[in-house]
């Protein structure tokens, strides 16, 4: 694939390289400055970076603004919780299962939703996510409104335990890098080019002979499966599969992360996730009224950095 076209999203190693080194050394650095507890929010940021990047495959590259991504995130969380309850503890089985079930859910929801466009697509994805929310809330066997507590975190084998914050962090980091790399390959593949073509002009792509609907559905399934993985990790981190993971508020937060970071940049949503969660963490330490200031930042971003914060750091180029 030719580099340098607007459809190709190159990795800017000058920025990504040092960031990866920093992430790899983070546990050591945090121990050095005697603040090891920041590893937990760091893990949370990585989990949401996975989910937001998967959502951006739809929003930024497919032109499909889904307001129901929490459905797949939450499904991943619940599959992990339900599997653990029935004795399936191994992460090697439970997490792929979470991805498969989330992908199947995305297939079913996409099959109906993708027939609508624009605002109507936003609303129909929201509708399906809310249906999932009420389905899981109604299952009293699996916790109902209180959520399903994980009896123990998923088992990794090899003498590793997710109970250790450091191990959990590194496992999440590896999975985040892997899944974001896969999504990056998808975006830059022939499939990804077609998807971006559909975003730009759906009718023309149809006329040229591309099976538009199948491409959109495939993207929807991939994004859903990756969000399912993020959900499985989130269930492990909070030790429960909570209905809040499925709520429209969660879909909204994921969408905010994507828009905040910048929809047309590949790593923007991951940056958006980090900025939003760090804002919550630090402003939340300073004042109980942190929501006010986070809200003000969001308004300011729209007024002064309309293409997302990723474009502030690197103008006119794509990270």
């Amino acid at each position: 694939m030719a580099a340098g076209t607007p459809l190709h999203h190159a990795v800017r190693w000058a920025l990504v390289g040092p960031a990866l080194v920093l992430l790899a050394l983070l546990p050591v650095l945090l121990t050095a400055i005697d603040q090891p507890f920041y590893l937990v929010p760091a893990t949370r940021i990585l989990i949401y970076a996975i989910a937001a990047t998967s959502l951006n495959l739809l929003v930024g590259f497919g032109g499909m603004v889904s307001f129901g991504h929490a459905a797949f995130f939450g499904t991943g969380a619940y599959v992990t919780g339900i599997a653990a309850m029935h004795g399936l503890q191994s992460a090697w089985l439970a997490w792929p299962l979470a991805m498969v079930v989330a992908g199947v859910a995305a297939f079913a929801i996409g099959l109906v939703s993708l027939r609508t466009r624009g605002v109507y697509f936003i609303m129909i994805t929201l509708a399906f996510a809310q249906m999932m929310y009420y389905v899981f809330v109604s299952m009293k066997t699996y916790g109902g409104e209180d959520g399903l507590a994980l009896e123990s975190r998923s088992a990794l084998g090899f003498g590793l335990s997710l109970k250790s914050d450091t191990t959990f962090y590194y496992v999440t980091l590896v999975l985040a890098v892997l899944s974001i790399a896969v999504l990056w390959r998808v975006v830059n593949s022939r499939f990804g080019r077609t998807l971006q073509g559909i975003r730009e002009n759906e009718i023309r792509m149809e006329a040229v002979g591309f099976p538009v609907f199948r491409h959109k559905l495939a993207a929807f399934v991939i994004a859903g499966a990756v969000a399912g993985l993020a959900g499985a990790l989130a269930a492990n981190q909070t030790d429960m599969a909570s209905p809040a993971f499925l709520n429209w508020h969660q879909s909204g937060m994921l969408l905010i992360m994507v828009i905040l970071g910048g929809v047309h940049s590949f790593l923007g949503p991951a940056i958006g996730a980090a900025v939003l969660l760090l804002l919550e963490e630090f402003v939340g330490d300073m004042t109980t009224h942190w929501q006010f200031y986070v809200g003000a930042v969001l308004v300011a971003v729209v007024l002064f950095a309309p293409n997302g914060i990723a474009t502030l750091a690197v103008r006119r180029s794509r990270v």
Binding site: R117, V119, H289, G295
Partner: protein, 305 residues
């Protein structure tokens, strides 16, 4: 299942639907005319309810409280439009979502700063606190008043939109904004007025529902989602569609919550029916929306030709 219960449920559904309509009407106009997704619309409903509760408690009069809420919220809405929201009309929908979500967070927290985290109570007007009896049906007088207010406001809004000059400009803006502007409509003034009217309608709903529900932070968010469902079912930009959609959603939701668990109990073991009933009832309106979108992708009354 007897007739009285059915009538009671129909009245409840109508009451809920009419209040939804008050929110949805403003939302659909802002969406249809300014092409703006306003997630902070529910916050105006919250502000209206808080203003009503504060003034009504201070003066001891529900009516004064409601009037103050309507005027105050309209002013807040128009100020918001002039200072911030009008900058967003030409922007991408995604930017509007981000900015108005930020506004929603700010509004929630500002209310918490001013009024504190506890829920307020909005006292019911004493004359309407009791039940009335109509042909064997005992029904709360205040709920009947809500229905009456809802119908009056809906009729007024219909007259305003269909038979006044402002309404003509509004309809022109909804069906073809550029053409309206080209024909010399002072669009920005119309927009500010429409926003003020939408905010005032929110305040009416806030003041009416305040005595029934808790006046608390976040009260605007769940109802906002329902209002969006309503305008999508009705067709974005259509006030008539918002009315039909709102009453439909109100009825389906209310009847679903009573009839569905009842009929499930008749065919399923009580344990399963008890779990399934409420979930299915909550899902019903979303099924309704998905169904409408599947067969009528533009809603029931598309505003744009």
């Amino acid at each position: 299942m007897d007739a009285i219960l059915l009538v009671e449920q129909a009245l409840n559904g109508l009451q809920f639907g009419l209040m939804l309509f008050l929110l949805a009407a403003g939302l659909t106009l802002v969406f249809g005319i300014m092409d703006m997704i306003n997630l902070a619309h529910g916050s105006l409903y919250m502000v209206g309810a808080y203003l009503a509760a504060t003034v009504a408690t201070a003066t001891g009069s529900f009516l004064v409280g409601a009037a103050a809420a309507v005027v105050g919220t309209a002013v807040v809405g128009m100020l918001l439009e002039v200072t911030l929201l009008r900058r967003l009309y030409k922007r991408d929908h995604l930017h509007q979502v981000l900015a108005t979500f930020g506004l929603l967070l700010m509004a929630n927290e500002a209310v918490r700063m001013i009024w504190g985290p506890e829920a307020l109570s909005l006292p019911m007007p004493e004359a309407l606190a009791g039940p009335v009896e109509i042909g064997g049906l005992v029904y709360p007088a205040f709920r009947l008043m809500i229905i009456a207010v809802g119908i009056v406001v809906a009729v007024l809004l219909y007259v305003l939109v269909a038979h006044t000059r402002l309404g003509m400009l509004v309809r022109a803006g909804a069906s073809n904004r550029e053409m309206a502007r080209a024909m010399g409509v002072r669009v920005s003034t119309v927009f500010t007025l429409v926003f003020g009217i939408g905010a005032a309608l929110c305040a009416v709903a806030g003041a009416m529902l305040g005595p029934l529900l808790a006046v608390q932070v976040g009260m605007g968010e769940s109802i906002l989602i329902l209002a969006f469902v309503v305008i999508v079912i009705g067709g974005i930009g259509s006030v008539r569609g918002a009315f039909v959609g709102a009453v439909l959603v109100g009825m389906v939701d209310t009847f679903g919550r009573t009839l569905l668990p009842m009929s499930l109990r008749a065919v399923l073991p009580p344990q399963i029916a008890g779990n399934l009933g409420p979930a299915l009832a909550s899902i019903l309106i979303y099924v309704l929306m998905a169904g409408v979108l599947f067969w009528r992708p533009q809603g029931l009354f598309p505003a744009r030709g």
